[in-house]
Amino acid sequence: MSKYEHHWTMIVDLDKCTGCQACVIACQAENNIPVVGEDEIRKGRGMQWLRIERYWEGEYPNIRARFIPLMCQQCENAPCEPVCPVFATYHSEVDGINVQVYNRCIGTRYCANNCPYIARMFNWFDPQFPEPLNEQLNPDVTVRQRGIMEKCTFCIQRIRRARETAEAEGRSIRDGEVQPACGQACPTNAIIFGDLNDPNSQVSRLAANRRGFRLLEELGTEPAVIYLKGGESNVI
């Protein structure tokens, strides 16, 4: 049990992740992430909060690709938090995750430098949603101005909504009730989300898997994202 009311945790099963990008678009749609265009992508200024990293292993013809979906790891000891001079990023005492307050951000980009997962995205320009594309924007999520840092929030708006519903119904949040957009879309069910405080939740069971590891674990950031190592079959 952690000190928080919930210990939201994401399990990413690398054996199931196919790299298909469904999660990337789901995230982009849910969180009003702007499209930045060819030139900006060329500069490495894509805004997608969730990206799938592809590494090569071996040489032709014995080559393999490895996919790792990477998003904010919601570290318990988040390196981004202490460096922000204006408390734009801090640790939520209820959800135990790392929260970004867009309106407070003044854009020092210090947090982004200090994030070992390079998980933070910066609004280099004002986002563009040519009409009527703006009609699609999620009303639960702010559209961020230029000069603001942003990152994966574990779809906090969905967590909030689930909590409000649960409170109204006088119960606690059920396992599986909160699903971030990425996990919801993932065709292979590679992304599982839930409360690690609940010993019976799916994430609690999966977290005990011996394939489990945390990214850059040696840094002591204690991420709330647990990866399950990709499987190996010995094939010829």
Binding site: D15, T18, A22, V24, D39, I41, P132
Partner: protein, 744 residues
Amino acid sequence: MSSYELSRREFLKLSGLGATAALISGCTANLQKTVWMEPYVTPPEETLPGEDFWFASTCRMCPAGCGIVVRTSNGRARKIEGNASHPLNQGKLCARGQAGLQLLYHPDRLTQVLKRTGERGSKQWGTTSWEQIVDEIAAELANMSSERVAFLTGRLPDYQAMLVSRFMDGLGGEKPIVYDAQSVLDGYVLLQAATQAMFDDKRLPVFDIAQADVVFGFGANFLETWLSPVAYGLAYGAMRSQSGIRGTMVSFEPRMSMTAANSDRWIPVPAGYEGLVALALGKIIVDERLGHDGVADKYRALYKKADVGAIAEQSGISVEQLRKLAHLFATAHHPIAVPGGVLAGQLNGLDAIKAVTALNLIVGHTGDHGAIFLSPAPPSRDLMQFSPSSFSEMINLIERMKAGKVDVLFVLGANPVYEIPEVLGFVDGLAKVKRVISFAVIPDETTAVSDIVLPAHTYLETWGYELPNPGKQQLIVSAQQPIVRPLYDTRDPGDVLLALADKLGGQVARRLPWPNLVTFIQTRLTSLQILSGNITANDAETFWIHWLQSGGWWSQDTVWESPNPTESFLNTPLQVNEPTFDGDAEKFPLQLLPVASVAFGDGRHASLPWLQEMPDPTTTVSWDTWVEINPQTAASLDIQDSDIVKIRSPYGEIEAVAYLYPGIHPNVIAVPVGQGHTELGRWAQNRGANVWRILSPQTEPETGQLAWAATRVKVEATTKRRLLPRLESNIGVDRAREKGHLPG
């Protein structure tokens, strides 16, 4: 929207002004100023501000037919998600499916009926009303011999296909020609032909990957675009996590697709030799009597002509390795071999698909889980499924057009100007057609050279139904309903046809007697009411409501059937010819493999910015056209990463940016399809290259299907360079591979 847009701040300012104005007007009675104040958004009256509504419908972004639910608030569609109760995709949805919103809200959509005023292709348009244009077209059709009318479509939603087919039938014209680039890339027609030849059944095969423990994929990119990627994605996830046993997957194809990248082993096979490899594996299994006891004996005749040694030499896979692979496959509990779309690009495609499918038979697992099944058949003729025509019909149409035998051409759901090999001269043929009438959502290359452009609803604005094909173990009739009110003065093409039929009267009106789309669809569904499924309703109205609410009807029972091979198939030895390619091997040393794009499919979704910016899974490139070249090949041609290269085929040339791809056979280069549009809205225009243009028009001899990967090309370096917009740091990724340390 003519309403005066008012922000809150402006509202406060104006209220102040208004108060002042009131004061002033109190003094001077003449001064009358009325300030109209309306909210920023005017919601349709049935919506509750701030409250979400979820509508179930069917995804039409690719032909798979997944169930979706769309979140709406204040009358706007906000997000598309998978329908959790839909048996096909079980709440999951791919990237393309989710991007459907951007089709709906695309800023460059067609908003009204357009009629050409200038030269054809000059893009000078006048506007007119629906009533007028329907009258005009009806008048024209009425005075015309019906064989001079042609209807060209893509693979339409079932309801539209039915209406088009009946429309042409009523006119007495030729059957509509269905050319669908995605289906071509998927090998749809060849798969059908193969099941026909092997099992005497035209239904598509379904591969139960979910319960297999060894999967051999032969050019099957089922995780990306092939037939029903979300359903297969689900199956793949299940295959990887069966309790205790982790399924093993091996992919045989010249280029490491995303699916192959997820295999435990990718075996690079020279282009077109996949079927031969399958043949060799089968031969070994039969010869060594692997698999279930004695089953293999039954199939001995099939492999009479196979020569393992020769195939090993041709494919570069040693006999030893072929034996190991055969053992792996045959000794598994639930092995499955999947013949994919890549096979269909070759002239030996049909035989290759048969050879791969046969592997499933000889290990004796048909009828078991983890085996091959046939997609469920429609319950009645009311709900027919339509399949693409063969490409030779398309060629035939072009010839007719060139000969001036076509006066009116309807184009619906297809973009033939873009996606047909240029050498066939579709555009020349089009010039001879008196009247070209296109339906489209976003202006494309074909609407640009049309006479009348009829703006169509997006699938989120209209009604429909779809029988997913290939389906799942249940029979599914997926529901499609409007999520939002039509944004513009657009119509469903089906409704336009109904209106035309009404105007024309006679046989056409008898074939299309319905007043509108909804009535038509409701009559289609009557046969379902008596079947046992997820909906129990006593009357049509209740059924309709439940059908819309749950996003469709699906049967309670499993209706999968195992195929039975016909005697004639069993007695004819399998033969797969060596692949041949168009173009002189000396002059054009490389083989060109067009690749269906994970983002755009066959190119139809290049208009959507989310998909443009979506990194390609294996190369991480977005927004551009690249050509994947094996680093060795590139070195021999003195080509470096990011160099712009010319790709020359006997039929033309295109330019693309070189991507040194470590997962591709040295004799093959791969170019993703989808870019190189001259139209299709601001995000697609003038970007990258269109690989369809330079393809050879050869067709597979038996089915007449386009052999889209049988073109030889030459790659030449230019002096120009263009950095690809890519997500990866190629320096970093190379270093990581060199050093062998990956994160995690």
